[in-house]
Amino acid sequence: MALLNISGLTTVFETATGPVGAVDGASFTLEAGEVLGLVGESGSGKSVSAFSILRLINPPGKIIGGRVEFGGQDLLSLAPRQMRAVRGKDISMIFQEPLSSLNPVQTIGAQVMEPLLIHTSIGKRKARDRALAMLYRVGIPDAESRFDVYPHQLSGGLRQRVMIALALVCEPKILIADEPTTALDVTIQAQILALLKDLQSELGMAILLITHDLGVIAEVADRVAVMYAGQIVESAPVQAIFDDTAHPYAAALINSIPDRTRQARRLIAVKGNIPDPRHLPPGCRFAPRCGFAQPSCVTTVQKLTALDPTHATACMRVQAGELARPIPTLTPELPHG
């Protein structure tokens, strides 16, 4: 039984011109103790999916469909009070920008203590001890003397560690990490990723890692789900995503990263732009940019279908066996394409 089972999640945003879809029928699962990477670019719906799981979507956004099953319950149908009991205790979240996610007028120690005081009945003294231990655990040097400093007095990397401490102090079963290293420099990013992997194996928790960076995925993920324009287009174990790519968009994403093992004359670019969510093609949303598209791709609705127990794709040409796996690399595009 999966720890977290999301099916058909649909979230829209109300605008002056009508509802705009951000997530459209996303389905994926998270097993206990694994790292699932949710990969996509802007407009893919990955962050909105994560926020939807914890029901952190505010108007004009609205979750209009789907189920989020956790511990035998559908989180989307819980009362607000019950949902609050889940957040920070069973499922926690860390965000991309620590400076705006931490309370600027509260000391970091107080902030790390807060989830303990809310969700458990241990007293202030014990909460302080546990918070301090957590700060040390996430690698903040001199945590004792830093307990009473404010977020702006710390560097970006340390703030991110504080946020991790805050999220994990109640030892949740699931950590949702929304672009946790995007705002960090590469040496600090490496430290944070190592820390997350460490804590994950120590606490036995599952991580839903949201990112646009396939390198981060390659480093830490066990399984991957790739999103494009609000839909999941492929999900597979991490090695299979790279070796056995089953969707042209996933292949394009992997191929557009410069390969440091060889010198290419040109980078393999994907033509066109990410579609406007208000003007989506009726069929495959990637078809206008896809090098393998057939006329029927634009009109036929795509569904995420399993190719084998662990690997699913939304590309109907792959499902029909017309397109071989791994998706072959297209020749570099012509200039000004």
Binding site: D185, A190, G215, E219, I257, R260, R266, I274
Partner: protein, 333 residues
């Protein structure tokens, strides 16, 4: 080797930190760029890499004369722009231009694309017909049709806006283009488009690029030579091949190690560099990297290493570069 287009000698930029309301006195300073020497050769792509606070963006702006230097000389084809007054500097502007990082903020939202691209020409006194024609030609050259000329920036995607920014940077026909993180704000699938465009234009127009970036993957693709900065100093300069295959400075090695792998089967045991990026205002004596360097000795903590030649075309600022290089057994990708 092509002749030098830009020569930088002992360039420094210090930002004073003052205290007091009535009588402001300087208590310390931020040494964003603290004495760098660099040569940019005509026709090459020199990458300037480093993490936050290393001073690479400041260096780029100094080279373009957008910031007055505290010290040093910036020679563009033999002429020192650091010694010029604003009026003289304005005359020189057409020789060097910039591609900005932010595709949203670098274009005035109230101007049409054609006006944006033509603006440099307008500022420099070109006639209306001439500059509108040039703007349309540039628009075509960057892969956007002339039919887009009357649209506004918000109607374009990030990648398209960056193309507009590139077209604008080329309007005055510069020799040197400083690209400050030109693709960092773009989606991955679009980054490749813009990089390919930049390479095509370089070939067609004989441009020289100073490519400022923290993304070593793209640097590996586009650069001819690479200079690594740390806390306001250049710690290593080498050809791309030499830098990636056998980096000499411990920081360069750590930087390359920290890059996430390209594929899961390349995962290795952790060798993450410990410690935080230090505060630029808190530089103490000796090598700046010593506090975090796993190989630091007493000499490193007291004596500041100068940038010196290790091999032809490969310079490094480290006392122990030779010894470390001999130990460089691990393959570096």
């Amino acid at each position: 080797m092509a002749e030098p287009l830009v020569e930088i000698r002992n360039l420094a930029k210090h930002f004073p930190i003052t205290k007091g309301i009535v009588r402001r006195r300087q208590v310390s300073e931020i040494r964003a760029v603290d004495g760098i020497d660099l040569t940019i050769h005509s026709g090459e792509t020199l990458a300037l890499v480093g993490e936050s606070g290393c001073g690479k963006s400041t260096a780029g702006r100094l080279i373009l004369g957008l910031l007055p230097p505290t010290d040093g000389a910036i020679l563009h084809q033999g002429v020192d722009i650091a010694a010029m007054n604003p009026a003289q500097l304005r005359q020189m502007r057409s020789r060097f231009q910039m591609i900005f990082q932010d595709p949203f903020g670098s274009l005035n939202p109230r101007m049409t694309v054609r006006d944006l691209i033509a603006e440099p020409l307008k500022i420099n006194g070109h006639g209306k017909a001439e500059r509108l024609e040039k703007a349309d030609a540039l628009l075509e050259a960057v892969g956007l049709g002339a039919q887009h000329a009357t649209r506004y920036p918000h109607e374009f995607s990030g990648g398209q806006r960056q193309r507009i920014g590139i077209a604008r940077a080329l309007a005055l026909g510069p020799d040197l283009v400083v690209a400050d993180e030109p693709v960092s704000a773009l989606d991955v699938s679009v980054q490749a488009q813009v990089i390919n465009l930049m390479q095509d234009l370089q070939q067609d127009l004989g441009l020289t690029y100073l490519f400022i970036s923290h993304d070593l993957g793209i640097v590996h693709h586009i650069a001819d030579r690479v200079a690594v900065m740390y806390l306001g100093r250049i710690v290593e300069v080498a050809t791309k091949a030499a830098l990636f295959a056998s980096p000499a400075h411990p920081y360069t090695r750590a930087l390359l190690d920290a890059i996430p792998v390209s594929r899961p089967d390349q995962r290795r045991p952790e060798r993450a560099l410990s410690g935080d990026l230090p505060d630029v205002a808190s530089v103490v004596g000796g090598c700046r990297f010593a506090p975090r360097c796993p190989f630091a000795t007493d000499r490193c903590r007291t004596e500041d290493p100068a940038l010196r030649d290790l091999a032809t075309g490969h310079s490094v600022a480290c006392h122990h570069a030779e010894a470390l290089r001999a130990d460089n057994s691990k393959p570096r990708i």
